[in-house]
């Protein structure tokens, strides 16, 4: 058993990064991510962590510095949220396309306009097409665990890894977190590591078929990441179930599919409904990319997807799940820090069980629309 500490989600991530010993950290502050990099700055200044902490002038520069560092074979980390992720978006594609490993924490937050610094998932979902591995945690312990695992998985498949945690709900609330005894292997050098003796150009103009091939290889390796995620999950002191966590699914007629911090409240609601004899369970998505297609395919029951992000009228997870399963219901809610508690989930789930949920429903709770 490792040492136990009372940590916010943000500080849990910083503690995990410290164990991973990155060579270079570059970051620009943005709420609600800021405490991650403040803690890491403190650790590097007081010598707890032997990393170069680069104070940059933008998120664009933050990820660009890391892109350079990981090209040179160093281990890199950054963190961001919302507008910051959008600002660095171009570089996100370059990191993935360069087939380089790194870890970035994303304290998920709404995107303007209008301004909002609170939580939803509309930021992290923009990474879907980039080639990044995208994880989403439920609590501070999982934030710690996934961050540590992320370095290993990322370096195994040479793809960057984003660890998502809900802004404020997880980033700014404290839990007891166990600091795991887990040792990461040293970062291995890739054939395309850049050194003065390298005899090639990295990322030169690549047209037609070779470009298709590069993207195809990337997609194949993202698929391969599924197995690696499962292996690393198994060898870890605590196993979460791989790409998904199954909660009371074995005999469930009604299945809710969700991701992130609010799954804890939804699980409480499931427990309450179970007491009433309703056979309901949850498939919690731990990963949005690679998408757990097989785990969803084998679901047997009525499916409700609860989303904290949307694309046109539908929820993003709703769209993703409906690419695998027909006839799902989709609730969209919880934007911009809108809070849902256990009772809200009880209400939503009861409506779902009573077949009163529309195919796509925007949920306002008891608030005025």
């Amino acid at each position: 058993m490792g040492q136990k500490k009372l940590l916010t989600g943000n500080h849990a991530i910083a503690e995990a990064v410290k164990i991973a010993k990155p060579d270079v950290i570059a970051a620009y502050p943005i709420t609600p991510q800021t405490p991650i990099v403040e803690k890491l700055a403190e650790m590097t200044e007081n010598g707890e962590l032997d990393a170069k902490f680069v104070r940059v002038e933008s998120e664009y520069a933050a990820l660009s510095v890391i892109l350079g560092a990981i090209s040179a074979g160093a281990r890199g980390f950054t963190a961001t949220s919302s507008q910051g992720l959008l600002y660095m978006y171009e570089v996100c594609w370059w990191v993935a396309g360069s087939r380089l490993p790194m870890v970035m924490a994303i304290a998920t937050r709404a995107i303007g306009a209008p301004w909002n610094i609170h939580g939803d998932h509309n930021d992290i979902i923009v990474l879907r097409d980039t080639g990044w591995i995208i994880g989403m945690v439920e609590n501070a312990q999982e934030a710690f665990d996934m961050t540590l695992q992320a370095f290993k998985v990322s370096e195994e498949v040479s793809l960057p890894f984003a660890v998502g945690l809900d802004g404020f709900q997880l980033t700014h609330t404290a839990e007891v977190v166990e600091i795991r005894d887990y040792e990461l292997p040293k970062r291995k050098l890739l054939p395309h590591t850049i050194e003065p003796s390298s005899k090639f150009a990295l990322n030169a103009v690549t047209s037609g078929i070779p470009k298709l091939k590069a993207r195809h290889e990337q997609a194949k390796d993202l698929e391969k990441a599924k197995e690696i995620i499962k292996e690393v999950d198994k060898e870890f002191p605590v196993s979460y179930g791989g790409l998904v966590e199954e909660y009371k699914l074995e005999d469930a007629d009604y299945i809710v599919v969700m991701m992130g911090g609010w799954c804890g409240d939804a699980k409480d609601a499931i427990d309450l409904l179970r007491k009433e004899g309703i056979q309901i369970g949850m498939l919690r998505l731990r990963f949005l990319r690679p998408f757990p297609t097989k785990e969803i395919e084998k679901l047997d029951g009525n499916i409700l997807v609860v989303d904290r992000s949307n694309s046109d009228y539908r929820g993003v997870l709703g769209l993703e799940v409906s690419a695998v399963k027909n006839g799902i219901k989709n609730v969209i809610t919880g934007f911009g820090g809108m809070e849902l508690d256990t009772q809200d989930f009880v209400k939503i789930f009861k409506k779902f069980v009573n077949n009163e949920i529309k195919d796509v429903e925007w949920w306002y709770g008891s608030a005025e629309r």
Binding site: D23, V24, A26, K52, V54, R55, V56, E57, S58, Y60, A61, S64, V65, I66, L67, G68, A69, I70, S71, A72, G73, A74, G76, E90, V91, W94, I194, E195, P196, S197, S198, K199, F200, A201, L202, N203, A204, V205, T206, S207, P210
Partner: protein, 279 residues
């Protein structure tokens, strides 16, 4: 030789001349944003450069260069990391460039300035010459021209210089000097572009020299916190401005009045540098 024969540069390309200076650096690695140099460097899997080259997104060059320099340092590997940027890249990465200078990042920035966005077909840039015609300034540029080297020097970095492909010995001397200093080093190289400016491809060096002689481009250095106008520019008399301007299609529309205005602006620049030199 850094740039191999048979590369894709245009006839008379100033960049293909400028690349030669990189062979005077120890352990060079060059980073390139989008621009003419990207095309010159060749198509995957080939490279027309004999040194390692990393292509990066357009605004990212200074930051990626610094990341690479830091990553290598962390691994105990010595290198001269060169951010090889065009004037378009200067415009789009201006905040990253200033951030890099501010941190005194250990990189060499070399700006090969052909005074317009040439790779996309001659559009106006921050350094486009006063009143010059480009495809986005068809009646001539009305904005100022950006003095990026001076702006970098005001970050009090260890080494800044201007250079010209018309005076390679001077340029190479400056590159060598930059290679021996640690921290943020910046060299702004004047690169007259035959198709972009509208002159014969055999006249690249001649035009570059004319620019120095009439002071449309002034060579100077900032080292140990001191400005010094380079010997070549000191010897230049400031003659031949009209000839320099009218030998380029992009400036052939200038009236005598326009030319006088440009002369005044050049004099202001010269006086400022003379003043800085006295400090």
């Amino acid at each position: 030789m850094v740039l191999l024969k048979g590369n894709a540069s245009c006839q008379g390309c100033p960049h293909s001349i400028a690349f030669k200076a990189l062979s005077y650096l120890e352990n060079p690695i060059v980073l390139m944003p989008a621009g003419c140099s990207t095309v010159i460097a060749g198509l995957h899997p080939n490279s027309s450069l004999e040194i390692p080259c990393v292509h990066v997104p357009f605004p990212a060059t200074p930051a990626v260069s610094y990341g690479l320099s830091t990553g290598l340092k962390k691994r105990g590997i010595k290198a001269n990391v060169v951010a090889w940027m065009g004037d378009g890249s200067v415009d789009i990465s201006y905040s990253l460039l200033a951030g890099s200078a501010l941190r005194n990042d250990d990189i060499i920035v070399i700006v090969v300035d052909n005074e317009a966005y040439m790779n996309t077909g001659v559009q106006s840039s921050g350094t486009t010459f006063w009143k010059a015609k480009t495809t986005t300034s068809p009646k001539g540029k009305r904005e100022e021209r950006r003095d990026v080297a001076l702006q970098m020097a005001l970050h009090r970095v260890p080494y800044v210089a201007t250079a010209s492909i018309g005076y390679m010995r001077d340029f190479i001397k400056k590159v060598k000097k930059a290679g021996k200093v640690e921290g943020f080093r910046f060299i702004h190289v004047h690169c007259p572009c035959p198709p972009g400016w509208g002159f014969e491809s055999s006249k690249t060096v001649e035009i570059a020299r004319k620019a120095i002689q009439c002071r449309a481009w002034i060579l100077w250095e900032y080292e140990n916190k001191k400005f010094r106008i380079s010997r070549i520019s000191k010897k230049a008399k400031g003659d031949g401005l009209k000839d320099y301007l009218l030998s380029q299609a992009r400036l052939r529309h200038l009236s005598d009045e326009d030319i006088e205005e440009i002369r005044r602006r050049i004099e202001e620049e010269w006086k400022l540098l003379e003043h800085l030199e006295k400090l």
